[in-house]
Symmetry: D2
Subunit: 384 residues, 4 copies
Amino acid sequence: MVVDDVVAWRRHLHRHPEPSFEEHATSAFVADVLGAMPGLAVERPTPTSVVARLRTGRPGPVVALRADIDALPVTEDSGVEFASERPGTMHACGHDGHTAMLLGAAQVLAGRDLPGGELRFIFQHAEERPPGGARDLVAAGVLDGVDLITGCHLWAPLPVGALLVRPGPFMAAADFFELAVVGCGGHAALPHEATDAIAAAAQVVTNLQHLVSRATDPLQSAVVTVGQLHAGTVANAIAGRAQLSGTVRSFDPNLRDALQAGVERVARGVAGAHGATVELEYVRGYDPVVNDPAATTLVRSALAATFGDDALVDGAPILGGDDFSAYLGVVPGCYFFVGAGGPHPHHHPGFTIDEAALDTGVRAHVAIAERALDGLGAASDARR
Amino acid sequence: MVVDDVVAWRRHLHRHPEPSFEEHATSAFVADVLGAMPGLAVERPTPTSVVARLRTGRPGPVVALRADIDALPVTEDSGVEFASERPGTMHACGHDGHTAMLLGAAQVLAGRDLPGGELRFIFQHAEERPPGGARDLVAAGVLDGVDLITGCHLWAPLPVGALLVRPGPFMAAADFFELAVVGCGGHAALPHEATDAIAAAAQVVTNLQHLVSRATDPLQSAVVTVGQLHAGTVANAIAGRAQLSGTVRSFDPNLRDALQAGVERVARGVAGAHGATVELEYVRGYDPVVNDPAATTLVRSALAATFGDDALVDGAPILGGDDFSAYLGVVPGCYFFVGAGGPHPHHHPGFTIDEAALDTGVRAHVAIAERALDGLGAASDARR
Amino acid sequence: MVVDDVVAWRRHLHRHPEPSFEEHATSAFVADVLGAMPGLAVERPTPTSVVARLRTGRPGPVVALRADIDALPVTEDSGVEFASERPGTMHACGHDGHTAMLLGAAQVLAGRDLPGGELRFIFQHAEERPPGGARDLVAAGVLDGVDLITGCHLWAPLPVGALLVRPGPFMAAADFFELAVVGCGGHAALPHEATDAIAAAAQVVTNLQHLVSRATDPLQSAVVTVGQLHAGTVANAIAGRAQLSGTVRSFDPNLRDALQAGVERVARGVAGAHGATVELEYVRGYDPVVNDPAATTLVRSALAATFGDDALVDGAPILGGDDFSAYLGVVPGCYFFVGAGGPHPHHHPGFTIDEAALDTGVRAHVAIAERALDGLGAASDARR
Amino acid sequence: MVVDDVVAWRRHLHRHPEPSFEEHATSAFVADVLGAMPGLAVERPTPTSVVARLRTGRPGPVVALRADIDALPVTEDSGVEFASERPGTMHACGHDGHTAMLLGAAQVLAGRDLPGGELRFIFQHAEERPPGGARDLVAAGVLDGVDLITGCHLWAPLPVGALLVRPGPFMAAADFFELAVVGCGGHAALPHEATDAIAAAAQVVTNLQHLVSRATDPLQSAVVTVGQLHAGTVANAIAGRAQLSGTVRSFDPNLRDALQAGVERVARGVAGAHGATVELEYVRGYDPVVNDPAATTLVRSALAATFGDDALVDGAPILGGDDFSAYLGVVPGCYFFVGAGGPHPHHHPGFTIDEAALDTGVRAHVAIAERALDGLGAASDARR
């Protein structure tokens, strides 16, 4: 049974997570599994990624299917039996499942009698850490000749069995910043001889809230999250430096620019008010994931045929980012969500999925791959 | 030359700092040096402290001299040749000098012809970390039979050669708190599903400022410093927990109580406003150092005779705390400052002293010890 | 020319603005103008509102058209020749134009040969001040027998000639709060004997930002605006009381509840952190304006026929509220926007409109009224 | 009985308070009362102040006694029978008592057989409102020829009968600022089109707290109070301008400069962080009241002789300011406090005094005046 393999693969990966750009064991494992499947040509376009081509040998479209394979710097607290054996690293976003599902789909499809063309299975490294692995693979030519790319993300807020596919804006622009508030350390009892970086940084965080609450059109979506704040080494010394990092999400390009300018303006203005300075590195992250309408129609059609119309649920765009957008900047495609029904949000130390979702994912990949080879091939024939 | 030894000892200690309660090598070194001096009985009342008795064999008072020997969790950035070889630990408060000066004084006094009585040299561990080492030594009976205790602190803001001795309140009550702001972690782009501990903690820090700015009598002294704030492991996840620690300084007992109540009230009120909870551990630290008037007169007299009246400078009380107060709760005594003339505040990564201060410190200890044996002995004789 | 009259009426009203519930001169003026038109039965359902019925005498539907007539407590700084002669009161939202346009429409329609049925012109008081005048008129029976109600708002962000009509959610729930932060006044130099209401209120405002920035789904719309903060009578006394008022906007009922709870939680938690208390009056304001789909289709059809398809522009829902929703809770209807092209936002002291918009508004009312009598009459006939 | 008159005068003045620089009825009343006393030459150096000279006709020193006569913009809520009849104005600092006590002293002294010299009774306007009335009187030559000036303030925190007299720094420098935070008004539901002056001003107030909590030496005294914050005219419009005023107190000149720079730095930095600008007027107010040691000795001596040594209590300097310093900049003198025993702080709407304090004040003035004429005369004789 493919599903048994998929569950086993997923659990193995879950137990052995690797952070972004360090997926050495993970990619080796993927390559090994793929290498055992008939007809797959396995390549290593970068040190920690894997691409496998399934060539039918007959003319037809090239359809790419993508899974991301990296884990997060989170210490697992999920209670599962196959929990991470690596403290400080965890598959807390479901990429273990993505990887296993695409392996399962490759196994199924490798045994099928396919229409002409080629399927390309992309196991991408480093989705969680901008600048991300997708652009490495594009640069390495992984999309050369590709006509369509699809991919999916397990999504805990959706129940198992539900599929969320929507045309147009689907996931947000995800920008990142590293911000140091630099004061001057000193004795805890002599504040006037120091410049308290914690007090200044706290005010920066507090004032940053206004970017969303006051400076953003309420009908637009924006998020400014400070995800890390680290300062000080001891209770009785004033910290001279506070190190913050965060992320900014938006869909609208003008708002994206305004938020970037706002983070800098608030940080400099407020830190300066307290005699501190700032060191700000603002990194434009992944562009928004915008699904191609025709590709979306194809994906919805394939999924409806396999799972029924009711499985396709409505849903709003997601403020999470994904470097799947790097592929969509090059070829048309569609990214969608597969209900995973977990009790915790993604990135949470207790994150888990309902493994029944893995079967849905495998079948979705297979259905889309076959439909795409077929449909695009027919379209291609018609164009000839 | 004693001074050459003192400088060498100080540099050795500076190079090999040890944190509070872990002064194993430091105390071994002190015990070794003391062991080589004639007439000293060396004891180890606790695993990382040393006490040496110099008994004259004739009746007379018992005079204790104290130095603290521990270092701070600071990474040195002073540029001195003999900088700490232990990243993350540094003699950033001058205890290396304290230790060396008292060793030097012991060496000088061991060679002197003293009046009757006993000198007790106390090399105390863990001054920097409440509950502190002084109370361990009191509990171990180190002060049994002691008539007077003195000690000094190198003080960078004073020029070398200056001595600050004042009766009454001299150093502040230094209380400490550990505060966790507990929210609920989650995906950086889904703030409504999480409770952002960094945003809440920043508001707690911001609101804590009011305790000093609005709730304290401007004619009173108070400090509330948050010295550490650590939260989050990654830019694109909302931190579910922020860990803060800090210190509160005051001289007045009612204000001390009010500040403790205020820290709790602000933390709970503000965190609660954002749906977060707090875990607060508030530890009453060292009591204020209040110098005994008669002991202060004796110390001033000894110092004036040695260094001249002009060396005794005026100065305000200090908001830094010191567990020398634990001794003063048991026997009368006097704590004073020895000008050390450094460019940086204490506890700063660049902290240095002018080593010329070491000579002053040694001579001060010697002068006080002799005067005390003499003066208290005479007084004692007179009382008989 | 009707338009000349409309401009003159509007300028007269602009010069003589009256605040909500005090529209005595305004309503008298409206009644006088209507009274001079043939065939209109003028009524005064409340002291400061006017309703005029134009009965055809033949069977048919009853169609209501509504304008709001009150002004705002803003001191005009627009520079127009016909500026408010009443300092502190200004037609800064365009209700002068609404009133004049509906008067113009009444004049035109009073001269037309209409299909059967009745037109009811509603000049409503107190739209700007919840609980609003609309519910008074509903209670007074003004909608009795009405089959459809429409109304429009001049909208400065849209260019003149543009019309924004959309089915479903169109304007937000607009809730209001009065919040007193109560401390204890005192001498400016003795903060510890007082409880500074300004310092506490500032923190409340600052912490309220988190409701939108952290506690609201970024894909939802929410606004929390503190529009007034008044505290203190002199620079050298600590204010014992700060009086705030504000508004909260949302479309989603659960979010609306959460924001109300949040305002109270933040106000109590933060004020309490500083020893202050709060007095909070939270008034649920106007419900969201949700346009009836069929009514919207009818309105769009009438407007497209009169102004062309291109005049109907796309647009997002508006976070401003309007008590037009009180009518929509009773009868189906549609509220829409008429481009007014001014340089300033509504409620701004410099607010102006391009008076060319008045002609659009009159023609829109007329077109809708005729189409509604006709279309609903036909539908009604068909149902018989 | 003089005391009965003093109580009656005080109650009359309390009932009819007048704000600073508007003491027309008050000064007329004072002049009338003084005019009825024998031997007093009454002058009106400025429109709302009164000076009366009591010349002995024999050579001797000139001794000035000063009372301030203005009230505060506070609405009384004390419940006394003779409460202010003028809403919004109140003798909430005790100047009514000061005036009545000095009138009483003049009445007593006018009937006494005095040593040679001259007594000058100064009833000064506008102490509560910088730049204050004292400098007007100095400019008008009121101190010409004066050898010594004294004055007293009723002080509610001290019990009746207690007198606080101390040499050196006695009252603080009291500086004032007017601060406008200027954003851009707009519709409450469109925050992104406005710049919310209330949100920005709240952050300014919040960040100003750091000047005292973090930027001031804890052993120094500093107060930064925002006493007024007024912004917005209606709940559903974003305020485009917030008007703040406040006061800054200090004793140390360097700290005074640093606080002024800090207020500007914080206001500009924080407002700028939110796209707002500031208009700041910072007015150096009264200099610190520093009592002349010799004058203080004379005053203490006179008071001890009259009230006994125990009446002279110890006390710290006061952070309240008083333009008595303007006189002390010209002639030596001493300002002191007379216990008034009220339950509320000064400037509080419920402020009251125990009228028994009035008798103490009269007798203090008389004792000091006689002692000064005598002592200074003798000293003067001795110098001849």
